[in-house]
Amino acid sequence: MVLADLGRKITTALHSLSKATVINEEALNSMLKEICAALLEADVNIRLVKQLRENVRAVIDFDEMAGGLNKRRMIQSAVFKELVKLVDPGVKPYQPIKGKANVVMFVGLQGSGKTTTCTKLAYHYQKRNWKSCLVCADTFRAGAYDQVKQNATKARIPFYGSYTEIDPVVIAQDGVDMFKREGFEMIIVDTSGRHKQEESLFEEMLAVSNAVSPDNIIFVMDATIGQACEAQAKAFKDKVDIGSVIITKLDGHAKGGGALSAVAATQSPIIFIGTGEHIDDLEPFKTKPFVSKLLGMGDIEGLIDKVNELKLDGNDELLEKIKHGHFTIRDMYEQFQNIMKMGPFSQFMNMIPGFSQDFMTKGGEQESMARVKRMMTMMDSMSDNELDNRDGAKLFSKQPNRCVRVAQGAGVMEREVKELIAHYTKFSAVVKKMGGVKGLFKQGDMTKNVNPTQMAKLNQQIAKMIDPRMLQQMGGVGGIQNMMRQLQQGAAGGLGGLGNLMSGFGGK
């Protein structure tokens, strides 16, 4: 996940506080020194780090404290609040209004990822049924319009630009006017990269801003930037009215601390973070869940929000089937479709407690997604009879020629079709067992409704199905049970997430 190194170091520092027998000023200073070193190593602005240390010290008054447990919790809470303050300017970002034209203008340094992020944002809203479009007002960099064109084509987003017009103000004006007339709801204007030492380009940015009167100006900042970030961000803020910040390139081990200084400099909230170079590598940013994830606490609420946001229909029907122990290949197919809607696996996995650190690299995730796509292609090649059969595996084993036909239709080898059937067999076996557990899907506390012995068996069954490395990451069978309990409490009856969670494992 993002800022993995920083999170690990801060968590280690906080844990060292738990191990100390006596909580005194010396222990506090030692812990704060470690946290500040971690923040500096993550490129957080050096003034902000000193400020954080002073603020935490000011909150903690040893003379007035009595119990040790109280001190530990108070210190952890103080550190948490200061970290939240670091990334939260206390300003609400602009919320786009559906049914009306929202003009968004992107600005930022060269190479910060503006064009990629423009496409990501347009795609993000398009997936939520907004009418999105792109206007390329970058006439300076070589190949800029071709980049917008190819990205927009791939994501099927309408775009406007010009090969002949060299004035970005004219292009932006014409594009925004045209898309407004056509009733587009999210009009995103991409501009050239620039920096504060290029005064003429800053004037050009102001001219474009005045021409299109954007509802929101988004500053795109690269997460790898160091201590020079604050000066640049402040310069942008002084010239145009920055409304929001998007931090890019936070995948892998990016430090990201310098970009956090952009928040302090512009007094603008971070609305999204970019976590890769593919078009769906964009995550909404919320301050408290971010810091919570940073400290390894997971984000169950975010997971449930994500599941609910997709409005996955048919889950009631799926739960009804699970109660009766029925699971067809079409059900697995629909679960895979939901996985594709969810976006990248890493965003999904980061929200599960225990998975927040280093579990899946970006490259591994792409392979997983490609494998899911491959399976969906195979299922596209199956007939309705095969998809809807109650026992699809038996049907294929009785008539092996079906595997050949499906393999040829999907363009894969026969062995892969058999692997898919084996996968489905394993999955449906678990579903049959889940259907047999009485009271599993009742509202309220799971532990009260379900027989503890049956619950233990079910957890063991799930544990067998899951990859051992992932199981270890989750904390074994107990970890699964804890996770399901948290899902139960957090979802408050939203059982759709459970079905998708199951399919998330199946997709592996």
């Binding site: 190479g111 997936k127 071709d146 980049q147 640049q232 892998g252 490259g363």
Partner: protein
């Protein structure tokens, strides 16, 4: 099971009928005619209900006939559609070519078609279930009884008049010669015969259109699967790539990059920093002299002769301050700590001069250390090496690698411009097959560079060419083909542009390692931006580690030099140069200071260090 079957014309003339139950169905047929046919409610269902009776009918538009079957509504007959179609075919086969006659003997064909339909239906029902034999036998009995009854009973003939006659008027058939009904029937048939004669001659036989096939599965539309076919729909631009006009040639650039690259000018900062540093030193000096005075007579003499020895405790505050200073200048914190430790080790136990202070000593030692770090251990002279390769008859190859968005393509174009100014032919290999617009970017640069140095001035030969194979291809293969192409066409230098990649992305790092191993370049340049912070350490460590680990060579080719870009964006926060050079031990070969082709400089070690220490 069928109570009544009838064939009649749309004009109302009954041609043939079969009555199985003996009841009168005139009212039902009249309701069908009145409610459906006359009101043009020819629905696709071809089904009509009245009270307890149901009618399944079929229209024959060629002969203007209606085929209808009446049965009890509670009985579900699944063969009626096929049965009526078969009956139509049989009737047409027997009487389709004959002019309308007086009598239609269709009983035998009717029984054959009906029994065939019933048998087919029975077979279909029998297949999944085995408990239908009793019903089947019942059907057989009924069929036989129906056949027997039909033989015995005389055929009843009736007429359905559009004026809706009451049911009581229908009568059994009377003697043929004397009945007035027969006269009416004969008269209507004569009229129908006259009417149909010209229609028959001109109407071609209608080929029965088969039922439209059931809608199959729609092809999947993958997310993010748009391709060039979709581009036409999405493009709202008014011009096309063909409309591109070459921009004004910036001819002032020509000639500026000949020879050795000029040194970098680092902006000088305020003098206030110097004053602060010196005043700080003075304060410490005063404290020092006070302590000396209190030490007594022997300490006084020791101080006079300058025999003070520096210890680690004395150095610590100055080093802490210096470390914070380096971090604020964007040196990586880990490297800043190491530098301060190194300075502490070199100064510990050293004699301090009479007029020196600890702060000035620390600053001086750190300056020397930084100069030594930034000065290259080995010199990279691309001009000389390229000339030597040219004499050997093979192209000099440079590969550019780095993370996303650092300016690899832009600085490749600058280096290309510099090489052209020094009379080298250059081939650019477009090995970034992932990022959108990457190939077009290089093509644009190629066009601009050829405009600056037109072929007319170079014996009709383009000084720079682009070798590209589009997107989604293997980068190592493209580079290999480009180098071979350069060798065959006697190009002097090949510049290989690669896709930006994160250092943690293992598949992409493997791909880069393969590219370098397969093509064995002369130079591998890492392109990093001056804005980067602590991430520079991670990037370079992992790039070098990937090139070493994945190459499966005993002497892997790792990074040879660094191109530091976007130097104009950082003012005096030049610490990234220290971080990168310290972690790799390789020199900074080029410094990029802007986006025009002349914005390429060589690093000035003293200027950078002075800016850092201000």
């Amino acid at each position: 099971m069928l109570d009544f079957v009838v064939i009649f014309t749309k004009g109302g003339v009954v041609l043939w009928h079969s009555n199985a139950s003996g009841n009168s169905f005139a009212s039902c047929i009249n309701s069908l005619i009145r409610g459906v046919i006359l009101e043009e409610r020819n629905t696709e269902a071809k089904y009509y209900e009245e009270d307890h009776l149901a009618v399944q009918f079929k229209l024959d538009n060629e002969l203007d006939l209606v085929y209808a079957a009446i049965f009890q509504k509670v009985i579900k007959l699944n063969y009626l559609d096929g049965f009526l179609a078969d009956m139509q075919a049989a009737f047409k086969e027997k009487y389709g070519d004959i002019r309308l006659g007086d009598d239609y003997d269709f009983d035998r064909e009717y029984r054959r078609v009906l029994s065939a339909a019933e048998e087919a239906s029975a077979k279909q029902v029998k297949a999944p279930k085995t408990m239908r034999s009793y019903n089947e036998s019942q059907k057989s009995k009924k069929t036989v009884a129906s056949m027997i009854q039909d033989d015995k009973k005389p055929v009843e003939k009736r007429v359905n008049i559009q004026e809706a006659p009451p049911p009581s008027k229908s009568q059994p058939s009377s003697p043929p010669t004397g009945s007035p009904m027969d006269k009416i029937i004969m008269e209507k048939r004569r009229k129908l015969r006259e009417k149909l004669t010209p229609t028959k001659k001109t109407s071609p036989s209608d080929s029965k259109s088969s039922k439209p096939e059931k809608a199959g599965k729609k092809p999947r539309v993958w997310d993010l699967g748009g391709n060039s076919k979709d581009a036409a729909l999405l493009d709202r631009s008014r011009d096309s790539p063909d409309d591109v006009q070459y921009q004004n040639i910036n001819s002032e650039l020509v000639g500026t990059m000949q020879g050795v690259i000029r040194d970098l000018d680092v902006e000088s900062e305020d003098e206030a920093d110097n004053e602060d540093a010196s005043s700080e030193g003075e304060a410490e000096e005063q404290v020092q002299s006070k302590k000396g005075k209190r030490g007594g007579l022997l300490s006084y003499f020791k101080g006079i002769v300058g025999a003070k020895t520096m210890s680690l405790a004395d150095l610590q505050p100055a080093l802490e301050k210096m470390r914070d200073h380096l971090i604020s200048k964007n040196v990586a914190s880990e490297i800043a700590a190491k530098l301060c430790d190194s300075v502490a080790a070199s100064l510990d136990g050293k004699q301090m001069g009479t007029f020196d202070s600890i702060a000035s000593q620390v600053k001086e030692a750190l300056t020397e250390s930084l100069v030594r770090i930034l000065s290259p251990k080995r010199r990279i002279d691309i001009i000389r090496d390229a000339l030597e390769s040219k004499r050997n008859g093979r192209p000099y190859t440079i590969i550019f690698c780095g993370v996303n968005g650092v300016g690899k393509s832009t600085n490749l174009a600058k280096i290309c411009f510099w090489l052209i100014e020094n009379d080298f032919n250059v081939l650019i290999a477009a090995c970034d097959t992932f990022r959108a617009g990457a190939v077009e970017q290089l093509r644009t640069h190629t066009r601009h560079l050829n405009a600056l140095h037109p072929a007319a001035k170079h014996d009709g030969r383009n000084m720079v060419q682009l070798y590209e194979k589009g997107y989604g291809k293997d980068a190592a293969g493209i580079a290999m083909e480009a180098i071979k192409f350069a060798h065959d066409t006697r190009v002097d230098v090949v510049l290989v542009d690669t896709a930006g990649r994160m250092q943690d992305n293992e598949p992409l790092m493997r791909s880069l390692s393969k590219l370098i191993k397969v093509n064995n370049p002369d130079l591998v340049l890492f392109v990093g931006e001056a804005l980067v912070g602590n991430e520079a350490v991670d990037q370079l460590v992992k790039f070098n580690q990937s090139l070493a680990d994945y190459s499966s060579n005993e002497n892997p080719h790792i990074i040879d030099g660094i191109v530091l870009t976007k130097f104009d964006t950082i003012d005096d926060k030049v610490g990234a140069a220290i971080s990168m050079t310290y972690i790799t031990g390789q020199p900074i070969v080029f410094v990029g200071t802007g986006q025009t082709y002349a914005d390429l400089k060589a690093i000035n070690v003293n200027a950078v260090v002075n800016s850092l220490m201000k």
